[in-house]
Symmetry: C2
Subunit: 335 residues, 2 copies
């Protein structure tokens, strides 16, 4: 059959190399897989083959190889948005770790769309990837893809017990809230977003616990959900309520994007309050170093998350060991 490889530059195959060397495909295969000595291929033959391989710049077809071996040495990395610096950084480190183990990474973007995510995963599976690292949009249907090694991160279903790498959302948010309290703030608002995601819910709980622990009462009026499609205005409105009506002086934001909006809003509309008000939020941004008010933030151990995801996945791929979920420690930058 003709395919595009047949036209133009003729691709060399193992068969061609074998012919040129006057040996069988088997011999070439052994030599290329460093099993020449073990298989008693004479060094003369080995050298001859390697020379021809180099000469023709022959690179084995990994499709054929993978088909035969039943292993692609490829893992899928599925995230809601690869342009989000958080996922981008995780991707980079996953890629680095994977490289050490001779794995390649296929990145897939679900665009926060549950159906697209399913499609992507099925596609990865049909491409025979060896495993998947997933930040899912659909935290409820875990274990949907039985039979494929899978590690979850960032978005983890509450009933997920195995194969995830998480961080302690609740505890971290509790800590930064307590830091604001320690600095003398007694009225602290929380700017959140409407989301079923457990990590968001945990952060809210953490904020509440900090207040209760410190002997304050929690007031639902001080917790405001943001319309994510209309962030800018929505944050301004929320700040107005919290700062002006409810007299809060400390604000905890559920994530860095909202905190950045908060910094902008405070500078633009409530600049007279800059000296009085303090912010804290989940996830860092370089911006927080430069701007007023400085923002105390929770830093996720990105490199560790990536490393642990890959280790856990590899153990599942290589040794069929399914680990319990693991919760990593965050750090806090107090500004």
């Amino acid at each position: 059959m003709l395919n595009r490889f047949s036209i133009g530059v003729m691709k060399v195959s193992i068969r061609k190399i074998a012919e040129l060397a006057g040996v069988s495909k088997t011999t070439v295969s052994f030599v290329l897989n460093n099993r020449g000595d073990e298989k008693n291929i004479s060094s003369a033959t080995q050298e001859k083959i390697l020379a021809i391989v180099k000469d023709h710049n022959y690179k084995p077809n990994q499709l054929a190889r993978s088909l035969s071996l039943g292993k692609t040495n490829t893992i899928g990395f599925v995230v809601p948005d690869i342009s989000d610096p958080f996922y981008g950084k995780i991707a980079k480190h996953i890629d680095s770790c994977a490289e050490e183990r001779f794995f390649k990474v296929m990145i897939a973007n679900s665009h926060e769309d549950k159906n697209k995510e399913s499609e992507l995963i099925n596609n990865l599976i049909s491409r025979q990837i060896d495993g998947i690292i997933l930040a899912s949009t659909q935290v409820f249907e875990s274990n949907k893809y039985k039979g494929v090694p899978l590690v979850y991160f960032d978005r983890i279903s509450p009933n997920q017990k195995d194969s995830f790498i998480d961080i302690n959302n609740q505890y971290s948010t509790e800590q930064i809230t307590k830091l604001l309290i320690k600095r003398g703030h007694s009225k602290i608002g929380f700017i959140s977003l409407t989301s079923y995601l457990p990590n968001i819910q945990d952060r809210i709980t953490g904020y509440k616990n900090a207040l209760i622990d410190s002997g304050f009462v929690t007031d639902e009026n001080n917790i405001i959900d943001i319309d994510y499609n209309n962030k800018k205005e929505s944050v301004v409105k929320a700040l107005k309520t919290l700062l002006c009506t409810n007299n809060c002086t400390g604000i905890v934001f559920v994530n860095n994007v909202l905190a950045a909006e908060g910094v902008w809003a405070l500078n633009t509309y409530f600049s007279e309050l800059i000296e009085k008000v303090e912010f804290a939020c989940f996830d860092n941004l370089d911006l927080f170093d430069y701007s007023l008010p400085k923002v105390t933030s929770v830093v996720q151990p990105i490199e560790d998350i990536a490393k642990n995801c890959l280790e856990m996945l590899c153990d599942q791929i290589d040794n069929s060991i399914i680990h319990k979920g693991k919760v990593l420690k965050t750090t806090i930058i107090e500004r």
Copy 2:
């Protein structure tokens, strides 16, 4: 031969489906590829096959398919750093465009390492990817990978004539420099970095041209290279020279990262100058909306770059058409 697919959940293959339906593999293949009618497969048989396929949740093995077809429907996307938001955003849009054409994207991170880049590309080729989109670390050896459809972006060798999507670095930098001049700045410094990369060189030329065009002389003392491994201090020092010794009031930065450092340095060490000094730079950052001094910046048409890269690549893959390089227009945010 045994492989991991043989253990546990037995994977279904086209052969199994054929057996279950009591037909040949050929027939199943025709039906699955929507060629049933064309190949005169009775609708009864077609329906039977499709039912069994659905029943067993059968997904054709894409490795085998690709091996046979000589096409993987996969493209490689090779960049120096996927955690850089610029490349992240490009990746996201490439992925979206690719999806429409039923292509998958393999992202590879060269870590700005020339040798790693070669390795990655060779690996992608051995995986039979259909084409590559590349922001190269090694702009000089273009056309090294003859025979593989390849489109360059962001990092383009000056002698590259075909198959690239670029933006006009020189013209854009000229424009923002002229904007500073128009706002009344007569002494304008340029903060750059030591780099052989043509886009950097073009930006320097653009800055110089703006000065010359406006009747000023260019002064090499006003162009300072930054030590990228020691950005923070290096930028402070550069600003001190330009603002305090050379009496510049406008500063053009070669990229957004250095400009962000500049904003921080100005606020930290030269806050008395904030009202007098104005910044401009290449590439935007959200930060520039929030901070003082506000920074006029060049915005690259990220979505367009991605779209054009993919279109150009597909034309090369599908129709063997090699297009001339294309230069896209930037926009400027004046603040």
